[in-house]
Every structure is written in structure tokens, then in C-alpha cells.
Symmetry: C2
Subunit: 254 residues, 2 copies
């Protein structure tokens, strides 16, 4: 199947494979300026079909275990449907607030946060996982069942980044009842809702995530989430070059 | 918190927000030419620290529920460690092959496939999920517990795309026992392995996914995975523009 046996790396092979400076910048720009949008949707401005098509096609080109492509995308504009989803959000939000009964300060901060843009975004997309797709034997899913739903998450991240490049904001509403979603959208029992997304043009992509700006939590140092060779080993002679580079990055708070 | 109340969209606001043509191309190029690499790793060629740092930092800038950043990245070069992981793969592969006992033709096709590059890649990365990070109350994870691990999957997809832009291939080995991984890497009981990745420069990024080229499964038409307003509704008057665009794309097999 291989077209070539030469051992030069793709970076050395040139245009077909390598990324130009601006192309590489484009990918990193999408990754670093992507935001979970709740408050900044522009009202009454549709996403054109060609942009939406590119966004969905990007999602569809995610990796999937055994090439099973186990995703579906339910596109929702209908106001009545959204209203019912919003009501599910309100109920779940109330439940969350009650969980913070013993931490009044946190409870008040939580209650002040804007956490969804269901009604004011241009459209909503429910992304689902169908474990029966091309099954029952799905190559690569025989040892770790969850890899099926992991594939759907990769598709969601592709969608999110493509939307960013199109100037479209995405907000993931996770404060919802999946049972409500199944009922409202007629999702069959064997299919699992994975994400409920709100999409639309935005007034701005904030410089930092909303929860970081609001002081809810800080961004962790990259050094804190890297281990070398084994869990918990956060320094290593053998990896000293990377350790130093990671520390410099953390110090510069990039 | 908002810096501006003007309603022009980001696409209309210019350089700070908008993507240039090549920047946009770069993102889509990464998405469409990313491959799950098993056979094409260049041996004995390290990934430079600065490239690896960019790849890991891209992963760390994924979205996460409640900004909980619940991921860790265990970087592995040690040959003994990899050998033990490879043995876990071999055992799980044998188990998979036995599952196809009643479909000899499929079983033989499966047995011929190259499904991992654990030993020949430049390094391995085990990506894990820590549900206790910034817990126990994680904003947005109170209704759907799984959103924690979904965040880790978004980080994996960022890593994968950044690697592609750097000319680095990534292969996700899912035919493994998580119990083996936990033991080999010393992962504590409360932390869950999510992905075991092999990274390295490659001889080529294949034009199509390995499993598509091998005729294991076809890529689905995009039209087949989109529904309008409700599950199962694959046509819609109200969405006719997008329906037509999706059909054209599917016909052109892009």
C-alpha cells in the first residue's frame, strides 16, 4: 500500500506534507483562541450553509476506533425544542446550586455565572454516540469499550476548532439531563447523547476562558500535568531538556 | 467583563479574530490529513523538545468541564516499559482474534493488519483522567459525570492535530488492558487511563485511513450522520439549503 519507501520525514519532503508558517499558525490560533461561549452570541445572525457544512465535515473526519464513525449530529433551530432543553438546564442548574448549600460563597458565585446560550445562539447541535454502528465487532473496541464514545469526543473537538476558524463560537452545555434530551429529541435507547452544543457568531472570543477570568479556577502549569516514564515522576535526568523547556513556559505563564 | 458591546461579528472585526486564508487552510489541512499511524514511523529520530512542548501545550489548552483540566500526560521512552505494554497488546490482540472465530474471513483480515507502533515510534504517551482534580464539586459535571473524561478526549484530539502540523504522526493503541497499563505505569486507583499514544516522525501520512484503504470499512456519507430537529429526520424543508449542500458533498465523495 505504501507509495514510497524513502525515509526522509514528511517535514523534509516538502509541500504535500509540510505545513507553511501561516498554516501552522492557523492551527495553533484555533487551539489557543477557541472559547466555550456562553455570553457573546450575536443574535439573529445565521451561519451560512457552506460554513456549517465545513464545520460538520471537519467533525466527520475525526479519528474513530475501528473507523466506526459512531457519531450523529442533530441540528436544532426550533424554538420550542430549545425551550424544553433550556428548562432541563434550569432544573439541573437548581440541583447544582443545592449541592453547594454548605459553601454559600461558592454557591453565590456559581449562581451569578452565565452558563449557556441555548436560546440566543444561531443553532444547537446534539452530538450522539451509536455503539451499534458497524457492530457488534468493532476493531480496537474489544478491550476498552469506552473508546467508542471517545471517538465522538474527538469529533466534537474538530467541530469546535473548525467553528473557531470560521469565526463561529461554540458553547457546550453539560448542565442537562440526558434523559430529558433523549425524550425531547426522540433519541432511541441504544444511542447516547454526548454533547449539547450552541453555535453562533460572536461579539468576541474572550482572551481567556470565562471561568478563569471570573477567578473560578486558575490555569494549571503545564509542568504539573506531565510525568516522565511513570505516574507521579515529574522530573527526570533523561528528559532534562523537555523539563527545562516546560518550566520556562510555566514561568512565563504562556 | 465584556470589552465591547458592538455587534459586528468577529469575522467582520479583522485581524485580531479573523483567520487569513492560509491560517484557515492550516486548520483544515491538519484535520483532513491527520492519520492514525501504525506502520509509517521513522526509526531512531527523536522529536525535538520545542516541537514536543508545542504539542503538549496544545493538548493542555483543550476545553474542560468547569475548567478542571483533569488530564495527565505520561511520557515514555524506556524500552522495558514499552515492551511490557507491547505484551499487553499481544494478549489483547489474541483475545480479539478469538472473538472472530465464527467469521474466518474477517479473522484472517484482522490478523494481517498492523495495529500499533509501540516499539518503533519515538515515544509513547499515556493520557489519563483524574476525576478528583479541583473536586469534589466540579462545575458542569454535576449532571453528566462522563463530561470529565470527555474533556481528556478533547485534549487528545488537540495533541493529535498539533502533532500533524509539526509533521509528527500519532497512533492510538486501544487494544490494551487498562489494568496492565495501571500496573506498568504505577497509575493510582482513582486515575483512569484514557489513551495510549505512539508518536514519531513518519515516512508518509497516508491519503486515507489505513482501515479504509484496507477495505475494512468505508467512510460514511456525511448526509447519513446528520439529522434535522429530531433523531432520525434526515430531510427537512426548513434546512433545504444545507441538505442540498451535504448531498452535493456526499456525491462528490469528499
Amino acid at each position: 500500500m505504501r507509495q514510497s519507501t524513502e525515509t526522509r520525514t514528511v517535514a523534509e519532503r516538502g509541500v504535500d506534507y509540510a505545513f507553511s508558517g501561516p498554516e501552522k499558525e492557523g492551527l495553533y490560533k484555533a487551539i489557543f483562541s477557541r472559547r466555550d461561549v456562553r455570553s457573546h452570541f450575536v443574535r439573529n445572525k445565521d451561519i451560512p450553509d457552506d460554513a456549517l457544512l465545513r464545520i460538520l465535515n471537519a467533525a466527520h473526519h475525526a479519528p474513530s476506533v475501528g473507523f466506526s464513525q459512531p457519531w450523529n449530529f442533530i441540528l436544532i433551530k426550533d424554538a420550542q425544542t430549545r425551550k424544553r432543553v433550556k428548562e432541563s438546564f434550569e432544573r439541573e442548574r437548581e440541583r447544582s446550586i443545592k449541592m453547594l448549600e454548605n459553601d454559600k460563597e461558592k454557591q453565590e458565585r456559581y449562581a451569578r455565572l452565565k452558563l449557556e446560550g441555548i436560546m440566543e445562539s444561531a443553532l444547537n447541535i446534539c452530538v450522539t454516540y451509536d455503539p451499534t454502528r458497524f457492530g457488534p465487532f468493532v476493531l480496537g473496541r474489544t478491550s476498552i469499550e469506552d473508546t467508542g464514545v471517545y471517538s465522538v469526543c474527538c469529533a466534537i473537538q474538530n467541530l469546535w476548532l473548525a467553528a473557531r476558524a470560521e469565526g463561529v463560537g461554540v458553547g457546550w452545555v453539560s448542565i442537562l439531563s440526558n434523559e430529558d434530551l433523549e425524550r425531547i429529541l426522540g433519541i432511541p435507547a441504544h444511542v447516547k447523547p454526548v454533547a449539547y452544543l450552541c453555535l453562533g457568531y460572536v461579539e468576541e472570543f474572550a482572551q481567556k476562558p470565562d471561568l478563569e477570568r471570573a477567578g473560578w479556577l486558575p490555569r494549571m502549569d503545564l509542568a504539573k500535568v506531565i510525568c516522565y516514564e511513570k505516574w507521579g515522576k515529574q522530573e527526570s535526568e533523561k528528559w532534562s531538556g523537555l523539563c527545562d523547556a516546560v518550566s520556562r513556559l510555566s514561568r512565563n505563564n504562556i
